[in-house]
């Protein structure tokens, strides 16, 4: 590592602060685990107590993460609140957690959305709510673990284990075709990540060959020089694992199925939470570990992202099923996020992170609305809706708000992320920018058309007595709406904290790239040219 000139600088200068005396990151992971343990192990009578307990645990975790947010040092680009302990010393695996500006908001949005999902499913889970809530808490723990792990093996453990609660949530509480959906989800995602395991092992041994040290510590592994012949297969293995989970076109086909069959509140987490692990992993692992791969194949990845963006929007237009429509809109939005990541400039990356948070909120809100509609209509079919506005003006209002947020109306959260991504795309290549901006129009078309059909379209002749939102439901929808507004109006609190880490990441990628070019000046002039065309630029 020393020979390569301190590539761990990205993560150097881990600061310590007041509440960092506590192992706050471990608490974030293990509090939900403990909650789930209580839910599973105690033979509860009735449903209210376990539900309340789950909500309290999720709420406590949210408070904990807010405390973390307050104590977070926005000026530092390094890892904060670092916790490190030996785990399996025989193979050099450690229990190593840390948080920076990139993962901070991922954690926050997770701790925020889980109580929301619990609230929105309060009345809707009829069968065995105790288990349902337990699995939701386990899912939360797994997701937070993914965002905090700085040891590659630990990351892999969370990455895989997180799928199990997901599997149960869809498999036990899902729709009619849930068996097919769960199998597809598991085979796709685990198949992708198992190949990554082999690549992790190769990386581990390459690193050992270069430094004589067995370690999975990513801050050390960042300094590994990958031999050119191994670069493509290894990069591809990582890329595929993350692309499946993102999901990037053409690896997205599991999502609409999983999404359509998922329980309403579980689906909030699929759209938002599961998906952003993929995009996050691109930032945390693929870019810094394989900068050459990322840069030289960026044009192809960007192409896929743009195709996903357009394809998702076009297919979403044709959907009759509300859940599938939102799933394809997620495919489309994720394309935009990945575009932002692979244009390699500060605006793009910042926009991508902001966008990830924002999609969760906007699609999540939309989804909760669909859930409330489903509770009354027992249908997700758009043609069965129509004229909902007349029956439920309050729900209609919220639905409009979240639809507009998803479309990217200025003043709401999606706009900021999209705008930054467009900016970054234009700086990298005008063509990308134009194409991405064009998709905005398509997005508006399918979302607004969906809204029109649901709210104002001709309603079926059947008489229906749908109650408008209850107070609980109104509160559930109001909270994300407030956050969306806040993000749209005053994104500075978010950007301030993201920027140092994003800069640090891009700086690291560029530095490592320059080192490589110096090391192998003569290597592959053709890719060298491409690298030049893509020269990184920070603001």
């Amino acid at each position: 590592m020393s020979a390569l000139g301190g590539p761990g600088e990205l993560l150097k200068g881990a600061t310590t602060m007041d509440i960092s005396q506590w192992p706050i990151l471990s608490m974030l992971i293990f509090l939900p685990v403990a909650g789930a343990g209580l839910l599973f192990l105690i033979p509860w009578r009735g449903d209210f107590l376990p539900k309340a307990l789950a909500l309290v645990v999720a709420g406590l975790n949210l408070l904990l993460s807010l405390a973390l947010f307050r104590a977070f040092d926005p000026s530092s680009s390094g890892m904060q609140f670092v916790e490190k302990a030996r785990w399996i010393p025989e193979i050099g695996a450690s229990y190593y957690l840390g948080i920076d500006g990139i993962s901070l908001f991922m954690v926050l949005i997770t701790t925020f959305m889980v109580p929301m999902a619990l609230l929105s499913s309060w009345e809707q889970v009829e069968r065995r709510p105790k288990m349902f809530y337990g699995f939701m808490l386990l899912l939360e723990a797994g997701l937070i673990g993914i965002f905090l792990a700085l040891d590659l093996l630990l990351f892999y453990v969370f990455w895989e284990v997180m799928l199990l609660p997901m599997y149960f949530l869809i498999g036990l509480w899902g729709g009619a075709e849930r068996r097919y959906a769960t199998i597809k989800l598991i085979i796709y995602t685990m198949g992708g990540s198992l190949l990554m395991l082999v690549a992790i092992l190769v990386l581990y041994f390459i690193h050992q060959g270069q430094t004589g040290e067995y370690t999975f510590d990513i801050t050390r592994l960042y300094g590994t020089t990958i031999p050119p012949q191994a670069l493509l297969p290894m990069g591809l293995a990582f890329f595929a694992a993350f692309a499946v989970k993102s999901p990037l076109f053409p690896f997205h086909t599991w999502l609409p199925d999983a999404h359509a069959e998922a329980p309403i509140s579980g689906a909030v987490d699929i759209t938002g939470l599961l998906i952003k692990t993929g995009a996050y992993a691109f930032l945390r692992f693929l870019l810094p570990l394989f900068p050459e791969f990322s840069i030289s194949y960026a044009p192809m990845i960007v192409m896929l992202a743009l195709i996903a963006n357009i394809y998702g929007a076009v297919v979403a237009t044709a959907q009759q099923d509300l859940k599938r429509l939102i799933a394809y809109s997620s495919v489309s939005h994720v394309g935009l996020v990945i575009l932002g990541i692979f244009v390699f400039n500060l605006q793009g990356v910042e926009g991508a992170i902001l966008m990830m948070v924002s999609i969760v909120l906007a699609s999540g809100g939309l989804f909760m609305g669909v859930g409330m509609l489903y509770k009354r209509s027992r249908s997700k079919d758009i043609s069965q809706m129509g004229g909902v506005w007349r029956d439920m003006p309050l729900l209609g209002g919220f639905f409009m708000f979240f639809t507009l947020a998803s479309v990217g109306i200025p003043g709401l959260s999606n706009f900021v992320g999209e705008f930054l991504i467009f900016l970054g795309a234009f700086r990298a290549n005008t063509f990308y920018g134009v194409l991405a901006a064009f998709v905005m129009v398509l997005t508006a078309v399918y979302l607004l058309w969906m809204f029109w059909r649901v709210m104002f379209g001709p309603s079926p002749a059947v008489a229906r007595a749908w109650q408008d939102l209850s107070i609980g439901e109104t509160v559930t929808l109001t909270i994300p709406a407030i956050v969306i507004l806040l993000m749209g109006v005053y994104p500075k609190i978010f950007l301030d904290r993201i920027e140092p880490s994003a800069k640090g990441l891009l700086g690291h990628v560029e530095k490592k790239l320059v080192q490589r070019e110096d090391l192998r000046a003569g290597y592959k002039s053709s890719t060298g040219e491409k690298v030049h065309g893509h020269r990184l630029s920070s603001r």
Binding site: I88, P89, E90, I91, R127, M131, L153, Y156, V157, E160, V161, L164, Y167, F168, G171, L172, R179, T182, I183, I186, I187, M190, G191, L194, L195, L197, V198, L201, V202, Y204, F205
Partner: protein
Amino acid sequence: MDIAFPAVNLKGVLPQLVVTSFAVAGLLVDAFYRSTRMVFAISLLGLVLALLLFLSNWGKDGVYEGALLAVDNYTVFFNILFLLIAVATMLLSLHYIDLTGVDSGKYYPLILFATLGMMLLVSSMDLLLMFLSIELLSVSMYILVGSQRERWVSNEAAMKYLLMGAFASAFLLFGISLVFGATGSTSFIKIESALGGLAGGGPFLIHIGIAMMLVGLGFKIAMVPFHMWAPDVYDGAPTPITGFLSTGSKIAVFALILRLLMNPFSVPYSQWVVAFWVFAVLSMTLGNVAALLQRNVKRMLAYSSIAHAGYILIAVVAMDGRAMEAALLYMTVYAIMGLTAFGCIALLAKGEEERFSIEDYTGLAYNYPLQAVVLSVCLLSLAGIPLTAGFIGKFYLFSAAVKSGFIGLAVIGVLNSAISLYYYLGLMLRMYAMPTVAVEGMGHPLVGKLAVALLGILILVLGIYPSPLLGVIKEAVAALPAI
């Protein structure tokens, strides 16, 4: 061929003698008193005593020279493992065999004899002792498999196993005689020194001999293409015995194969790597694909056990220090998983009838919460999901393969793991699905439940904190001659 009476160090074989005498004592007690409980107690006592003796042997210097038996950390490790497997099998059988019409007076002593066969097998330093141990193990197993005399599947399984096993033994014996012909000795040490000086891995004869032996041994570990017997036998045997057969017997032969390849056949081995590569890939792939199609849980686990033999063969291909550690680790982990899986199935039986069909498992979790949780943990472990012992085992195997440069093999291994998720997780989810018909609950003995609960906890503990076991395995491997 001169067979001098070897100067056996009686202290070295004391545990084996203990197991033998307690097994005989058990048979005698059965003959004169017909007290099942007493036979059980005597057999268990013998196993525990032998276990204690072995524990005191741990960490001492190896004894080989001029002896038939090796007593070093490697063999002690496996002996302890076999004894533990036998204890677990006995605890899981306790109630089950009374229900299913097995003559328990012979059953427990036979488990002891089979265990003795495994113990001698892994310790043997001579081809003849090796053959005798395999026969002891196999004959005991033939009887155990057929011990449910009322059920015709059990009889069919025993007959099939016996016929095929005898055939395999013939191959093994023929291989041994060829090796003897080529090297002039049956002692591992002498064979090695005879082969060591020869260029090109020895004469052609030795390769034919190894091939024949491989057929015989490959049959015992149910390696594709010698696996045909396994599904029928595993399906027909009493379930605790299926667990015993799929873990103990398989591991014993694997431990022997590793020793053979390390020690006497290290020179010709280099020309067998490709063959083992092919066997590994075939076993993994065929096992997993066939398991996908099964509707019978025991047959599904039988095919999955073939696949797991394929995973262990990855270590045989890679064959260096790390691979040896991986092999030992995986065998230990597999022993726990196999016992747990079949133990849970035995404890999910309703009365005299077992639940074979996958449909019978729908919604079982609500009547048998403990068994369902443990079986789920075990299935996750078999699938290699992190935080279970199975993941650590697979991780070690794949890392050994990658380290030795067999990246293709590691990729095939992980793809197979992905396939296996389908049937393992499918069964798991089924147990938690809403039951379509009412499932009648039924009590099961506390001992068995405690045993599987303990095994399940062990799977999780080893998955989260494997370091102590890894340390022990490192010492065990260090006892073998360096590669």
